[in-house]
Symmetry: C2
Subunit: 720 residues, 2 copies
């Protein structure tokens, strides 16, 4: 940092430290936290192609612009005299400026970027910044910024000998008609492409039109984050690992809540609320169980300015919170079954890379905790709940899952057995645990002494230890992870694709064909028709919205609602009104059709159901085609590397599971196609599907890994 300070000293600037910012939103929040006024900026590095034949490659272009300035690369390329410009890949960025996309900055420029240097760069300054004195720029770290004047940026570049140019983007925009978006599909993926080339190919050719700049099949992680944010599902938050659930995603959660809550109430489950705080005594009472959670437990040690005498933990899950009270409340077999559920949030302060919905430090879920007189009653409930979880995925989210039981290695710590619904993310070929319903057996009831007089005990045992029965317990949970799985499975290059039953808006109505020649009255006829259509649909219980915003053309509105994934669009124009029809367009498959107005109330609900069914069918077809029955070890990793799950006749021996993980990881490293985010990830057992009948007879089969007699067909895969 010393050299940077020295560089900045002549400009009278000092870097200011703040929370590390891994995104523009985090950076904005971090800057706001400094309390100083500033102008938000963006810094982009482009790799241009020369327009004609030239001996030298053109320099990279580093653009430093106001965050809000529209900076179309096509227009800029033309203005600078290049054939085209693409965003530079991260490794090119590192090579040229020793920075990544989150800390790239004009003050990363050095004399190496001067003409004739190792990495020549042309600095382009947005004219909007020229007069500012407080433009924010990263200071060689995501956790450090300087507030710099536009003139100082040019001064800084000049000092390093770097060329620079000031560009007026507003003038640029008004000078040239907007470039038509290229229509070409994404280039087929080169089999042995370099990482940089691969990244180039992840660019969404329709980005300027629709806003999602990355292809789903390209940089999946970036696509996911863009779709969530631009689709209005969430926003980043200034505490790392925490996210804001915006109404668009919260509606999905509330739909799941409403459905599931009614179902469990039919089973006699009652809702309650236990405090979020746990005393350390209680939390740490069950050592084995807590061992897995301990490193992630958040501790409150201070209130106001007082240190607490004893720190209290925030619940990571509620077994140890609730069960001391179960011991107190359950006095007799007449108090059984006790079936409680909570809708709450829990905190697991993970230090691994957070991922919205899938791995967050706080998440919303329900946790059911029940106590039964017999194992049979507990068993029955475990499966009832799992069936509801399956239905949440399949009937609400249109996401196929495989219900089954976990291996001993993968079951809940301290439990008896764990059942699960396992989902599949086709783009990465990875499995994802969708929800789990655990039978805890009597392990916790013995630990917490939750016992009753056994009504079936012989009379001579009454009142004696032999007559005591420890209750059988279950716990089961489903979280907002559901939403992440839904987005990953259904989303496409245009953004979200919402399953109709959980979409806050199911039908969007858009006025079309309005033009400047129309009289106000002619316009109103169309706008009123849209408003009436919204009203009619709502009256029929369909969640509809007419988008009557002024100042946006239909194309913008189409793209906007497509990005948010609204299942069905209805277009109303003058010709449609003449013909007493509307034009419909499905988000999931783009199918367009005219619907006579008189048939709307009958047809729209059917179309929404078809959309659900088709979304489910497509996802299910995909999942099935990627679930490979394999009986030879040689085929195991091959299929895994084709982004598939593998079902093998398995011995169910834990050591064998370890060996499978180990061997599939090693082979993957040697293989050609490598998942760049998890290159050495081995496969683990995902579940032993309940539906064994779908597979050939297990009789006489051997485990392909170890050769021991197989017990059941078991699904393995890489997973989240």
């Amino acid at each position: 940092m010393a050299d940077l300070a020295a560089l900045l000293a002549p400009l009278s600037l000092a870097p200011r430290e703040h929370a590390a910012a891994a995104s523009p939103a985090e950076w904005a929040a971090a800057l706001e936290s400094l309390g100083a006024p500033h102008t938000p900026t963006k810094t982009l590095l482009f790799k241009p192609k020369a327009a004609g034949k030239t001996a030298d490659a053109p320099p990279l272009v580093l653009l430093f612009a106001h965050a809000d300035t529209q900076t179309p690369s096509g227009a800029l390329a033309k203005h600078l005299g290049f054939k085209e410009m693409r965003l530079a890949a991260e490794d090119a960025m590192r090579a040229a400026l020793n920075a990544g996309k989150d800390d790239i900055s004009p003050i990363s420029l050095t004399s190496a970027n001067a003409p004739g240097g190792a990495q020549p760069v042309l600095l382009v300054l947005d004219s909007r910044l020229q007069a500012t004195s407080d433009a924010a720029a990263h200071a060689r770290s995501t956790a450090s910024s300087v507030l710099i004047g536009g003139a100082q940026v040019l001064e800084f570049a000049q000092a390093a000998g770097v060329e620079s140019k000031v560009v007026d983007f507003e003038a640029l925009a008004s000078a040239a008609p907007p470039a038509a978006a290229p229509k070409a599909a994404a280039a087929p993926k080169a089999p042995k492409a370099s990482a940089a080339a691969l990244r180039e190919e992840t660019r969404n050719p329709d980005a300027e039109l629709i806003g999602i700049t990355t292809l789903k099949a390209g940089d999946f992680s970036d696509w996911y984050q863009q779709v969530l944010r631009k689709g209005d599902m969430l926003d980043y938050y200034d505490v790392s690992g925490c996210y804001i659930l915006k109404p668009w995603s919260y509606f999905v959660w509330q739909s799941i809540q409403t459905w599931f809550d009614a179902k469990i109430k039919e089973l006699g489950v009652e809702n309650c609320y236990f405090p979020m705080f746990v005393s350390s005594d209680v939390l740490e009472r069950e050592k084995d169980h807590i061992e897995g959670f301990a490193p992630e437990v958040a501790w409150v040690t201070r209130a106001g300015s007082s240190e607490l005498e004893k720190p209290v933990a925030i619940r990571p899950t509620s077994e140890t919170v609730m069960y001391p009270y179960y011991a107190k409340w359950i006095r007799s077999h007449r108090d059984l079954p006790l079936k409680l559920n909570q809708w709450n949030s829990v905190v697991r302060w993970e230090f691994k890379h957070p991922q919205p919905f899938l791995r967050t430090r706080e998440f919303l879920w329900q946790e059911g905790h029940t106590a039964h007189l017999t194992l049979k009653d507990a068993d029955t409930e475990v499966r009832q709940i799992l069936e509801y979880y399956r239905r949440v995925y399949e009937e609400l989210l249109a996401v196929p899952v495989v219900p089954g039981v976990k291996s001993e290695k993968e079951k809940f710590a301290g439990g008896y057995y764990t059942t699960t619904v396992e989902g599949f993310i086709p783009t990465t070929g990875r499995g994802i645990q969708g929800g789990t319903s655990h039978c805890l057996g009597q392990n916790f009831s013995k630990m917490f002494n939750i016992a009753v007089e056994d009504p079936a005990a012989p009379p001579e045992h009454r009142g004696k230890p032999e007559g005591k029965l420890h209750v059988w317990q279950n716990s089961w949970g489903l979280s907002t992870r559901t939403i992440g799985v839904m987005v990953m499975v259904h989303g496409d290059d245009k953004g979200l694709v919402m399953p109709p039953r959980v979409s806050s808006i199911q039908v969007v109505v858009i006025p079309c064909g309005l033009n400047a020649k129309m009289t106000p009255k002619e316009r109103d006829v169309i706008l009123d028709a849209c408003a009436n259509l919204e009203k009619t649909l709502k009256g029929a219980g369909i969640r509809a919205k007419a988008d009557l915003r002024e100042g946006y053309n239909p194309g913008f509105k189409f793209a906007d609602w497509e990005m948010r994934g609204v299942p069905l669009r209805l277009e109303v124009g003058p010709k449609d009104l003449e013909k007493s029809q509307v034009f419909s367009c499905r988000r999931d498959d783009g199918a367009r059709a005219a619907i006579p107005s008189a048939e709307l109330l009958e047809r729209v609900p059917k179309i929404l159901d078809s959309i659900h069914d088709d979304m489910y069918r497509r996802a299910d077809d995909e999942y099935r085609s990627r679930r490979r029955v394999v009986t030879e070890w040689a085929d195991f990793t091959k299929n895994l590397n084709q982004k598939c799950h593998v079902v093998i006749p398995w011995c169910e021996v834990e050591a064998c599971e370890d060996a499978i993980k180990d061997r599939s990881a090693r082979v993957a490293e040697e293989g050609e196609e490598v998942d760049e985010r998890a290159p050495s990830m081995g496969a683990k057992s995902l579940c032993i599907p309940f539906d064994q009948a779908q597979f050939p007879s297990i009789e006489g089969r051997k485990c392909p890994q170890c050769g021991v007699d197989a017990k059941r067909w078991t699904m393995f895969g890489r997973s989240y």
Copy 2:
């Protein structure tokens, strides 16, 4: 502590430290946290009356018994040869044993308690404890216990020279028929009773039958806690100030949620979820607003074993959490109104005495945060929401409230104005703020820079500071405090009285007239009739339950469900079946009536509505009769001291409000009738009721406190 250790040393006992326990439940949890097996106990101090005329007062009786042993004081008195025994008041306890009810213990005995000592005590040991070796006893502190053998207790008493007796309560119970519960109503309150005598009078004469040992009109605070716990609303928790909301109370909350959520959705409000954590930068950004919250903010400083680089706070409310994002999301007047709501929990680590539902460290609520283009829109919404809050209280909870606006002094810090619904607790005569709907004006939008281009600005101001408009904001919240108010208003000496619309069970069906002479078939006819009745009622949407528990007689079941406040009881006996009728009993007024079976489905919903209406009407009559219009200062504190609210023509000057508080407190101190829990509490303004028309014309009236021209009729009172 050294002397106690010395005393215990001969018994080879060492006190063990644990969390301070302010109740039996907390003690049980604390003992469990020690991990050592123990026998739960209770220690009670009685003041007997001698049976005949004797010169000396009898000694106090200290009973040390198993927690589960039934120890009727009448039978014990008789056994010991006393006329009667009453629980000793706390000050008698202090005088005799230097202990309070939460740490009283046999090892508090000293030689002062020997016969002829200053405070003679007779120790009674439950024979069940005689053979135990691990009976828990407090060790002169609520945070310390010893595990002591029954024999050791006697040994300890003997060492101090204290008399002791072992009593077999089981034998006592079987020897004597249970004493009929005295039927006398509570004695009228003596005007100048001493605190100890008052406490004696708080004893519920029906305690042994119904379980609530204190009268509502007696020790209200103790009554409240007993009703909540014995009525199954909540349980105490081992983190102080936190409580478990059991299904019986959570159902009330969920009913409020369902109703209110539907209402605000009609207004276009959307639900979302913001993280519970706030960075210190953001939290502390708005100094004035946070000033009030800062001393109560809980801080997470550690995760697992890692100290966090920057501690994060748990939200005490979400203004500063949300508004930085409002600034980001609201870019144009087209983004307005923005109306978001959250159902969540917030944490305010208060150090004042906690009170279930009314003052807890974590509580559930909803918080709405909206942004509008105009003050008019904001005003309209503030009132719409307040009207919903009024309806929650009046239409769901049958609790009358007075809607109005807060004085400048009492409004939300940082807000523009605050509207409120004010409730009233007749037993204490105190007001309670039921829910508040704030207009924040532009104060927060200016602080957080939430601004749009004013669509009404003249063209020459476009894009200039003059054309910028800061949005108008509201925030509004309703919490689980609602439940506490409902309990305090409606509960009676038998326990809870639940308003039918929020009661988890509205109708309980109890089989009656079963006896030992019946054949199993005769019994089944009745039990089946009850089960069918439950089914029929449920089919009609009535929340019904048949209590078919074996081993409990109808009297027990009546009292049990009365304690939980179930609005309507239906009794089904052989004679009822003969006559094709059931017998009904209303919880609210005890009215009994036969209902022909054929009319049940028609009559039960009507009865439930009548119960609601009558509960509301009674509470409203009470509230109105305790709301006194006063125009002379001389009447102000007099009415206050009669546990009334006072409505005066008020000047609305802040200094006058201070003076009123001051003067009403001082006079109270000099007065005769003193609220013992708040002897010097002055009155504050509760609200300026919207309905001014109910009062005489304000024209020409003067403020009775200061003589300045009155502006509006304003309600003052002591309050929670």
